[in-house]
């Protein structure tokens, strides 16, 4: 069984690191990282991850814009996206509900159950 390949997009380098470390060390997944929306779009096309963990609050290009780009690009539109965000206000939720995403994981997340949360959202066995 090949390990899951997943792309983590966050402008906070340390969060990238932590997520990568968790999924690699605890679950043996292959984790790609991107520090900006633009970088994420390139990687999504070039590396074809199985799923994308996407931060919402990013400079220049926020999570919604990245999502839109991904879903309007034929090569990437099938890739499921999970928002990994610190936005937890009710107003944020209604914005998420309108987006075509697989789910939301709130920051801070539990590093031990992160993979299982992802699997659950993506219906991975």
């Amino acid at each position: 069984m090949t390990p899951h390949k997943i792309l983590i997009v966050d402008d906070e380098e340390r969060i990238q690191e932590v997520v990568q470390m968790c999924l690699e060390m605890l679950n043996g997944w292959q984790v790609l990282t991107a520090g900006s929306g633009q970088e994420a779009l390139h990687q999504a096309v070039s590396d074809r991850p199985e799923a994308i963990l996407l931060d919402v609050s990013m400079p220049d290009m926020d999570g919604f814009s990245v999502l839109h780009e991904l879903q309007t690009t034929p090569l990437t539109q099938a890739i499921p996206v999970i928002f990994l965000t610190a936005k937890v206000q009710p107003a944020d939720h209604s914005a998420f509900a309108k987006s075509r995403i697989a789910g939301v994981i709130h920051k801070p997340f539990d590093p031990v159950t992160l993979a299982s949360q992802i699997c659950e959202l993506l219906h991975w066995d």
């Binding site: 402008d11 906070e12 380098e13 340390r14 969060i15 690191e17 932590v18 997520v19 470390m21 968790c22 060390m25 605890l26 609050s57 990013m58 400079p59 610190a86 936005k87 937890v88 206000q89 107003a91 944020d92 709130h106 920051k107 801070p108 997340f109 539990d110 590093p111 031990v112």
Partner: protein
């Protein structure tokens, strides 16, 4: 030739007309010919071009032009008229200006039917250079058609212009028309004359007195037995035939007529006929005189009257015989010649008329003067009747003798006619019938007297009968129809003789039974009154007098009042014979009296209760009447003084007195009702309010007599009104100055009041809010829900609360918080709503900012926590036990973000403290240079690491500041400058005193207008700069130019917000100028203490130390 004066004069007119026309035509021809000559054309052209002097021919044309006998125009052949002389303009009624404006064109001024003529004329012009004059019509400005004669010549240059001459033919045409009319009239007159000649049975003659030529008609000649050609047209033919005996006086008669002594010439004379006999001819004529009175001609008729003359002669003979007979019979005869009008009387006739025959002049007038004036018309009528009916005349009439005595005459007469049936003469006879008449008169008078007396007696009798009938009828009508009961009783036999039908309606009982049952009438009387009535009536039966008011009790139980009166009727010898009476229903009167009594009582009670007095004032006699209450109200002891207008005025408070007087005068003058409220000062010093209500009263002649009215104490009401007014004012002030919007709705939900605050919040005026107007100012998005809730509140009569937006005219949105509560009436009806509205725009904005801040803070706190939680969680699993380097990295991450978290929390707390308003800075005097130095020191290490040079330009001034906070601010600004500067670049820090003269300068911070000296600190860098759209918000919380800055540069996003808060706390201002890509310049000001100069002098330091390179 017949005499035809009209022909003669018309001929002259015609001749004159012809001459005029001819001369005009000649003139036109002359002009046209002149023009047609090439020489003249040339000269004309020269004149029009250069105005050379005229020679003789031209002179004629010019005179022609200026003489205005003939219209001259210059025109284009296409129709445009270029110029024209006065006559031409007059002809068409245009001014020269209009001509020059091109208003007039000869083609449009020509009726359609002449256009063909014009076309032909133009063709002729083009072909021959001149066109022959022709008649046409032109259209005057007023639409009239003017007949003209027109001729024209082409000008050689330019070839399309012509000069035309127009002659007005209007007068000629008119004269021609008149001539034609006169000739027609003459022709008709002539025809009539001929007809007259042929139709008349008389001969006609027409004598030209001056030539003695005489026209004799055929009938004239035939009358004397001649054929037409046998008699010549000369006077001789007539004069030679007149009987020599007659010729003299007939000629005289003609001369008399010529001398105008007689209106007509009329004679009867003999004329010799062809057969040698003389015929009697009635010759009539009338002369025509010239202006000097000379006879010109005489026309007349010739009538054969021979038959009549012969009859007359025969009659004369017969008359002679008759006269003899009549004289014997005392009968007067008379003859009236109808032809001459002469009347002839016999001797006897004159005697019967009491005058001598010599005195009678034979005129009808004299006869008439003898007749009694009253009878004259009847005689004339009888004569007319006899003539019309061809009957004998028979009449009786009175005459008055010269001695004044009156005589009766019976006259008979008859008309005698000629063989053509025309009456010629009337003859008659008269007899004196005075004696007979007198006898007749006596008999007639006797008869008349008799008849008159009989008629008189008859009339008297009839009148008496009629009176009797009338009287009886009147009584019946009266008795039967009056509402009162009329009764009659026989007091001796105790019997009702008559009771009128009204009894049945007043007593509600049958009257016929009463006639048999005398005592029965008492049964209808109310039991309580019965005995008294009976006693009174018994008394009446013996004395006749009776007057009672008593009650009746109807079978229905209803009680009615009657007034019953009886009067005695005595016989001639003084015995009581009858008693008659009248009983009337006075129930209504009694009820009214009762109502009046009750009303008076009520009024009295009401007046007492209202402490009202009633008064009356007669302005004519200046008398016044006051009730005792009036006295008390006005502060007088009742009856202590005489009531009067002046007394009333005296009682009135001095401030109201003048107006009271004036008011009463005006009321009296205008005749209107009085209603006046005023104050009186009572003797005890108190002031009371009184109200007088009065009405004008009039005397029989309708003149104002005075006034009657009531007077009331209204002090309590006045006080209450005053209290209400005060209350109203108090509540109004409360509402008008309330900081909360207040409004009031009626039961239908219509707005009836808004206070000023409410209007400000809603953005409407008082009037605009009224009714449903206020709804128009609610934000469209909020209106539907508002309407729903508001309708529910009205329906359920509950209060309601809502936050909603008002959209003002200028587009601003104002949030309002509405609260309403229903208003209950005394009987718990909802009579509307009262509501308040608060402006919560600011509150909502603060709320929004707060919630946003919390949201951002939450996000900012969660971000470092994510790293910490993640790294520590991973470590705790022990999964990294075999990977010490990775474990180490995770620990570093946890530490770094923990520090960041601490900074963030500190900044948030700092900011919260600074902005809470509760935090007071500990300010002290400190040197600006020192503060700058210490800030730079703090950052030395970082600057060195980043290879940044900090250049400081300090100032040696002291400021009153919290040193730590100013250093914090400077450090923050400097660290930002270092962070965003490229390595190797410079950051400048400087301070300088500004606004020494106390005035605002251009360099002062934009956010304040500091008018006192201050120190301006500046931190400048050559970094990337700030985009213009961020300059406004950069001092806000979490408003970094780039959100990632906080991560990469270690900032929290609150630094500048804290700086701003600190500087504001110091009373200074902070700001930034920046050009993207070239750097930023942050600056802030600190106000200098008022004694800064003394402080600076006391610590004399070098004012401008050299920059300290770091």
């Amino acid at each position: 030739m017949t005499w035809e004066p009209n022909t003669c004069s018309n001929g002259l007119v015609e001749l004159a007309l012809m001459l005029t026309l001819l001369s005009a035509l000649l003139l036109v021809f002359l002009v046209v010919m002149l023009l047609a000559s090439p020489h003249l054309s040339r000269t004309l052209q020269r004149r029009y071009r250069v105005g050379d002097p005229w020679h003789q021919t031209e002179g004629q044309v010019e005179r022609l032009q200026t003489a205005n006998i003939i219209g001259i125009l210059r025109a284009n052949l296409d129709g445009a008229i270029l110029d024209g002389n006065d006559e031409f303009l007059r002809l068409l009624g245009y001014s020269r200006e209009e001509l020059h404006q091109g208003t007039v064109r000869w083609d449009t001024a020509t009726p359609l039917e002449y256009s063909a003529l014009d076309t032909a004329a133009i063709a002729q012009l083009r072909h021959r250079g001149v066109c022959a004059p022709y008649e046409k019509e032109l259209i005057h400005r007023n639409g009239d058609r003017i007949p003209v004669l027109i001729g024209s010549a082409l000008l050689e240059e330019p070839g399309d212009q012509c000069i035309a001459f127009v002659l007005d033919l209007s007068r000629q045409k008119q004269t021609e028309a008149q001539l034609r009319a006169s000739q027609e009239a003459l022709r008709q007159s002539e025809e009539r004359w001929q007809l007259a000649l042929r139709g008349n049975n008389d001969g006609i003659w027409d004598w030209n007195v001056q030539t003695n030529e005489v026209f004799f008609s055929e009938r004239w000649k035939e009358m004397l037995g001649y054929r037409n050609e046998e008699v010549q047209n000369s006077l001789e033919e007539w004069s030679k035939r007149v009987h020599p005996d007659d010729l003299g006086w007939v000629t005289q008669a003609i001369q008399d007529h010529f001398a105008q002594k007689t209106p007509y010439y009329i004679t009867e004379h003999r004329v010799l006929a062809k057969d040698g006999t003389y015929k009697w001819i009635l010759d009539r004529g009338q002369v025509l005189l010239d202006e000097q009175g000379n006879p010109i001609r005489m026309v007349g008729s010739h009538t054969d009257v021979s038959d009549r003359k012969q009859a007359e002669q025969a009659l004369q003979e017969s008359e002679t015989r008759l006269r003899l007979a009549l004289e014997a019979a005392h009968m007067g005869t008379w003859t009236w010649d109808l032809v001459t009008g002469n009347v002839a009387w016999s001797q006897q006739h004159a005697e019967l008329f009491g005058i001598s025959l010599d005195h009678f002049d034979g005129s009808m007038e004299m006869f008439a003067s003898c007749v009694h004036p009253e009878d004259l018309q009847a005689i004339l009528d009888e004569i007319d009747r006899a003539m019309v009916e061809r009957d004998d005349y028979h009449h009786e009439f009175r005459i008055i003798w010269p001695d004044g005595s009156i005589h009766w005459i019976e006259g008979k007469g008859r008309f005698f006619y000629n063989n053509r049936g025309e009456p010629l003469v009337m003859r008659g006879a008269i007899v004196d019938i005075t004696v007979r008449k007198q006898a007749e008169e006596v008999i007639r008078q006797t008869n008349e007297e008799l008849e008159r007396r009989v008629a008189e007696r008859t009339r008297e009798l009839e009148a008496i009968n009629a009176q009797l009938r009338e009287s009886e009828e009147k009584f019946r009508q009266l008795a039967e129809t009056i509402q009162e009961v009329f009764w009659m009783v026989d007091p001796i036999h105790h019997q009702w003789i008559y009771i009128s039908p009204a009894y049945e309606s007043i007593w509600a009982r049958d009257r016929h039974t009463l006639l048999h049952q005398f005592e029965d009438w008492l049964a209808g009387v109310h039991p309580d009154d019965r005995e008294q009535v009976r006693a009174s009536f018994v008394h009446c039966l013996s004395h006749g007098q009776y007057d009672q008011e008593y009650r009746l009790l109807w079978p229905t139980g209803e009680v009615r009042w009657v007034h019953d009166r009886g009067f005695p009727v005595y016989t001639e010898d003084g015995q009581l014979h009858r008693i008659t009476g009248i009983a009337e229903d006075i129930t209504v009167r009694k009820q009214t009296e009762e109502a009046l009594r009750a009303s008076k009582q009520r009024l009295s009670i009401a007046l007492n209760a209202a402490k009202a007095g009633t008064w009356e004032w007669h302005s004519d006699t200046n008398q016044a009447f006051w009730s005792s209450e009036n006295y008390r109200l006005l502060g007088y002891e009742p009856g202590s003084c005489e009531a009067s207008y002046d007394r009333w005025l005296e009682a009135i408070h001095p401030d109201d007195r003048t107006i009271a007087d004036r008011y009463v005068q005006s009321v009296m003058a205008c005749g209107v009702d009085l209603n006046f409220e005023y104050r009186v000062s009572l003797p005890n010093g108190s002031i009371r309010w009184l109200n007088d209500i009065g009405q004008i009263i009039y005397d029989e002649q309708g003149r104002i007599k005075g006034m009657v009215g009531i007077q009331m104490d209204i002090t309590d009401r006045k006080l209450a009104e005053e209290a209400i007014r005060r209350n109203e004012a108090w509540f109004r002030t409360l509402s008008e100055s309330s900081p909360v919007g207040v409004f009031r709705m009626n039961a239908q939900g219509h707005c009836i009041y808004t206070n000023p605050r409410c209007q400000t919040i809603g953005g409407f005026s008082f009037e605009e809010a009224l009714g449903e107007g206020w709804l128009k100012f609610i934000h469209p998005e909020d209106l539907p829900s508002m309407m729903e809730e508001w309708s529910r509140a009205i329906a359920q009569r509950t209060g309601f609360s809502k936050d909603l937006r008002y959209l003002h005219r200028d587009g601003t949105v104002c949030w309002g918080r509405l609260h309403t509560a229903p208003i209950q009436s005394d009987v718990n009806d909802c009579i509307g709503h009262v509501g308040t509205v608060e402006d919560i725009t600011l509150t909502r904005e603060v709320d929004r900012m707060k919630s946003e801040f919390i949201s951002v803070v939450s996000h900012e706190l969660r971000t470092p926590l994510t790293s910490i939680r993640g790294s520590l969680g991973l470590l705790s699993t022990g999964a990294l036990a075999n990977h010490p380097d990775k474990a180490q990295r995770m620990i570093e991450i946890a530490v770094t973000d923990t520090e960041r978290l601490v900074r963030l929390v500190n900044d948030i707390l700092d900011l919260e403290r600074l902005e809470s308003g509760k935090f007071i800075l500990n300010k002290e005097l400190c040197y600006a240079a020192d503060l700058m130095q210490r800030a730079v020191e703090t950052l030395r290490a970082i600057a060195e690491r980043e290879q940044i040079q900090i250049v400081v330009t300090p100032t040696q001034v002291q400021v009153l500041a919290s040193a730590d906070h100013i250093i914090q601010t400077l450090t923050n600004l400097l660290s930002n400058a270092i962070k965003f500067s490229p390595p190797g670049s410079t950051v400048w820090l400087s301070a300088e005193i500004q606004n020494l003269d106390g005035e605002s300068s251009a360099a002062s911070p934009p956010s304040t207008a500091i008018t006192m000296p201050y120190v301006l600190f500046t931190v400048a860098d050559r970094g990337r700069g700030i985009p213009p759209d961020k300059l406004e918000t950069i001092f806000g919380r979490f408003q970094q130019v780039d959100a990632s800055d906080s991560r990469q540069k270690g900032g929290t996003g609150l630094g500048l917000a804290i700086c701003q808060s600190i500087i504001h706390q110091h009373g200074g201002a902070i700001g930034v100028d920046s050009t993207p890509g070239q750097g930023s310049c942050f600056y802030f000001s600190l106000p200098l203490p008022s004694d800064w100069q003394r402080l600076s002098a006391a610590n004399s330091c070098p004012s401008a130390p050299p920059p300290l390179p770091l």
